[in-house]
């Protein structure tokens, strides 16, 4: 079994933490993994993405070929659209529904929503709104990860949940709790 994932968003939205947690869970589960990140220029308010490949068999390429992505996970709706050519016919898009507008020519928000909803498998969720409910606005990416858990397949929600706890362990009990709460909100949304 294999799962090819594109994680994307705008620099500073925390997509690399999502990648780290899925990576931790995959390593604990004994899966093969490759994760290509973008560092450097694109971190400041620009688009960022990471290719994450999980498999029970060895993986060759660090990059995912076009048309082969099983899952696009996006912290921002227009950013989800950027990687459409990579999506497989039965691929799933899980994205934050809240627009991040920091460019003058940002497209019409309702048109973006409509284009996403026209896809065969798209899940839109206002993760920032849900994160507010846990009084942890920075936990929006964990809400999204919770939502992803239902679509990942190769790892269970419990395996991901354990990885969340493990990654935040160093930062203390309270931080672990609030991130798990955010994760569960996404999972059950």
């Amino acid at each position: 079994m294999k799962k090819d994932i594109i994680l994307c968003g705008v620099g500073g939205q925390g997509i690399l933490s999502i990648a780290t947690i899925i990576g931790q869970a995959a390593t604990e589960a004994g899966l093969y993994l490759k994760q290509a990140e973008v560092h450097g220029m694109s971190q400041r308010g620009g688009d960022v993405q990471s290719n994450l490949r999980l498999s029970t068999e060895p993986i060759y390429s660090d990059l995912i070929p076009k048309g082969k992505v099983d899952l696009i996970v996006s912290m921002e709706p227009m950013e989800a659209l950027r990687y459409l050519p990579y999506l497989a016919a039965d691929g799933v898009v899980v994205t934050n529904s809240k627009n991040f507008v920091n460019i003058p020519n940002y497209p019409d928000a309702t048109a973006i929503e409509a284009e996403l909803k026209a896809l065969p498998h798209a899940v839109l969720l206002d993760i920032e709104d849900l994160a507010q409910q846990t009084h942890n606005p920075k936990g929006a990416n964990m809400v999204l990860l919770g939502k992803v858990a239902a679509h990942l397949g190769i790892l269970s929600a419990d395996q991901l949940r354990n990885a969340v706890a493990r990654i935040f362990q160093r930062k203390g009990e309270a931080v672990v709790e609030s991130n798990l709460k955010a994760f569960d909100l996404g999972l059950n949304a």
């Binding site: 705008v10 620099g11 990576g23 390593t27 093969y32 993994l33 490759k34 994760q35 290509a36 990140e37 973008v38 560092h39 450097g40 220029m41 694109s42 971190q43 400041r44 308010g45 620009g46 688009d47 290719n51 993986i59 060759y60 390429s61 660090d62 990059l63 995912i64 070929p65 076009k66 048309g67 082969k68 227009m78 950013e79 659209l81 950027r82 459409l84 050519p85 999506l87 497989a88 016919a89 691929g91 920091n102 460019i103 003058p104 020519n105 940002y106 497209p107 019409d108 048109a111 973006i112 284009e115 896809l119």
Partner: protein, 529 residues
């Protein structure tokens, strides 16, 4: 066997530590920065007191590493590809002196220019200096090759170049870890062949030429160069470094192929593959280095395909898609490009001092329709994009000051340079001395955010020394002006810029305020204490 999830850069760093490294010398540059940062925080490296402090530029790094090698210890130099241009003098001559302790030079190339101004291929430098080159195809090889590279360096008494590309440097995979080897003891060379006077250099150069056959032998026998001789197929594949993965992704490993990860080219293996195929296709990330060489090797009558024949794109990085297409196995796409999409270029952070610098410069410059502002390399290069669009140029580190000088020599007025603090100490100081010596009519803005921002906030070599440096170079004290770039100081800043433009000579304005990213990091660190 312990396994760790490592970035390509981290695998290189850990591989070097475990190979008995005594010092890494580097100037930051994407995609190489994480190598040195890993060593700076690795427990074993700290325990062994392995040198890992940033150097002022790639040339000082290269020379210090050569000094450590002279003293008998293993040293690593890391840089992004364009850093090779900066250290080229020391690099090329280190092949003529040869080494004592193992010396590995790591160049991280950036095909597709994800965060660079060109896509030069460092393998040219390796060939130019006539030294062995390693090019790992994955993270495990990157780790393992560090020991192999140091051993080869010490056995041939030559520096070894290791070349990686962005996609390996910045991709994570599990790596099997070995025991750490001990460091070399202090053992300074006693021979005089390090004194490259012409008489000695001629002998050393002959020696280097003689070593070529040993290098070839090593590459021919290398376990990293693998021939899979499958007969009965028309096309044979040559795959260098990371390109091997894209080929395997497309058609699997059971094809007629030579995988190449160590140079000089294993000529026998390539000839053998050519003898059982009708044509070869070359996959290499970067420029068509190997494609050209193989054409020479096999002669004009043998068909060699690649970037030069249009079978692969002439520019940009390889990826699984263009490789699959060249092999005739491109996938059908289910979705086209989205309709509701816009580019999202990087931006200066909110509250960044460079913003206030450009606001002020634009305000004053508007009073001088013939003005030009020559830019340099760093976060502040984003001042070339909207909303500021202030910059006329950005070429290489340090070029702002010297281009402003040359343009002023030609009669341009006002001729203004904007340069960051780290870029200034990297390559701006010498140019400023030129300008001072001729009292050129330029205004230099050193936008000092107290860090090397673009590459993630590393220490900047000149912090707290800029006024002293400028005065030491001979800038008149009354024309070294320090301001705090904040909106509330806009009147003062614009007044000072105007005064210094009007001064007919060299003036330096230093807007100084900490980078927003490092400020937040420092606040977090304080809170966590």
């Amino acid at each position: 066997m312990e396994k760790r999830l490592l970035l390509g850069d981290e695998a290189i760093a850990l591989g070097a530590i475990h190979a008995g490294l005594s010092g890494v010398y580097a100037y930051p540059g994407t995609p190489s920065t994480e190598i040195t940062e890993f060593i700076q925080s690795n427990p074993l490296a700290l325990e062994r007191n392995i040198h890992s402090r940033w150097s002022t530029n790639e040339k000082t790094a290269m020379e210090a590493a050569l000094g450590m090698s002279y003293a008998g210890k293993r040293a690593l130099v890391c840089m992004k590809h364009v850093g090779m241009n900066v250290c080229a003098d020391a690099f090329v001559n280190s092949a003529v002196t040869g080494v004592n302790g193992g010396l590995v030079v790591l160049a991280a190339d950036d095909p597709s220019m994800h965060s660079s101004q060109n896509e030069q291929d460092s393998r040219f430098y390796g060939k130019f200096a006539m030294i062995p080159i390693f090019e790992p195809s994955n993270q495990q090889e990157a780790y393992d090759m560090m020991s192999a590279a140091f051993e080869l360096s010490e056995s041939l008494k030559l520096p070894v170049l290791m070349r990686v590309v962005t996609r390996l440097a910045h991709s994570r995979a599990a790596v099997e870890i070995k025991e750490a080897a001990a460091e070399n003891g202090l053992n300074p060379d006693t021979d005089r062949h390090w004194v490259l006077l012409p008489g000695i250099a001629r002998k050393q150069y002959l020696l280097l030429v003689e070593k070529q056959k040993d290098m070839l032998k090593a590459a021919e026998a290398s376990k990293y160069n693998v021939l899979n001789k499958i007969t009965g197929k028309k096309t044979g594949i040559i795959a260098c470094g990371i390109a091997y993965n894209y080929v395997c992704e497309a058609v699997g490993p059971n094809v007629p192929i030579v995988k190449i990860s160590q140079y000089p080219l294993p000529e026998d293996k390539i000839r053998e593959l050519a003898s059982v195929c009708d044509e070869l296709i070359v996959f290499e990330d970067g420029q068509p280095v190997v494609e050209n060489d193989i054409r020479g090797l096999l002669g004009a009558n043998y068909c060699v395909k690649g970037r030069l024949t249009g079978d692969l794109p002439r520019t940009g990085e390889l990826d699984p898609d263009n490789v699959a297409k060249a092999l005739g196995v491109a996938a059908e796409l289910s979705f086209g490009t989205a309709k509701n999409l816009a580019n999202r270029p990087p931006q200066l952070c909110n509250g960044c001092g460079h913003r206030d610098v450009y606001t002020a410069l634009n305000k004053v410059a508007a009073e001088y329709p013939n003005h030009r502002i020559f830019g340099d390399i760093g976060c502040y290069t984003l001042g070339a994009l909207p909303p500021f669009q202030s910059l006329a140029s950005c070429v290489d580190m340090g070029a702002s000051i010297t281009m402003a000088k040359g343009a002023a020599d030609a009669g341009l007025f006002p001729s203004i340079a904007v340069i960051g603090d780290s870029t200034f100490t990297h390559s701006g100081m010498t140019g400023l001395l030129d300008a001072v010596n001729e009292n050129s009519n330029i205004t230099v803005v050193i936008s000092d955010n107290l860090t090397t921002g673009m590459t993630g906030g590393q220490d900047s070599a000149g912090t707290n020394k800029f006024e002293a440096i400028c005065l030491g170079l001979g800038v008149a004290p009354e024309h070294v002006r320090v301001v705090v770039p904040l909106p509330k100081n806009m009147d003062e800043i614009t007044r000072i810029i105007r005064e210094e433009i009007e001064y007919k000579g060299v003036s330096v304005i230093i807007p100084r305020r900490e980078c927003m990213q490092t400020l937040q990091r420092h606040l977090r660190e304080k809170k966590n204490k």
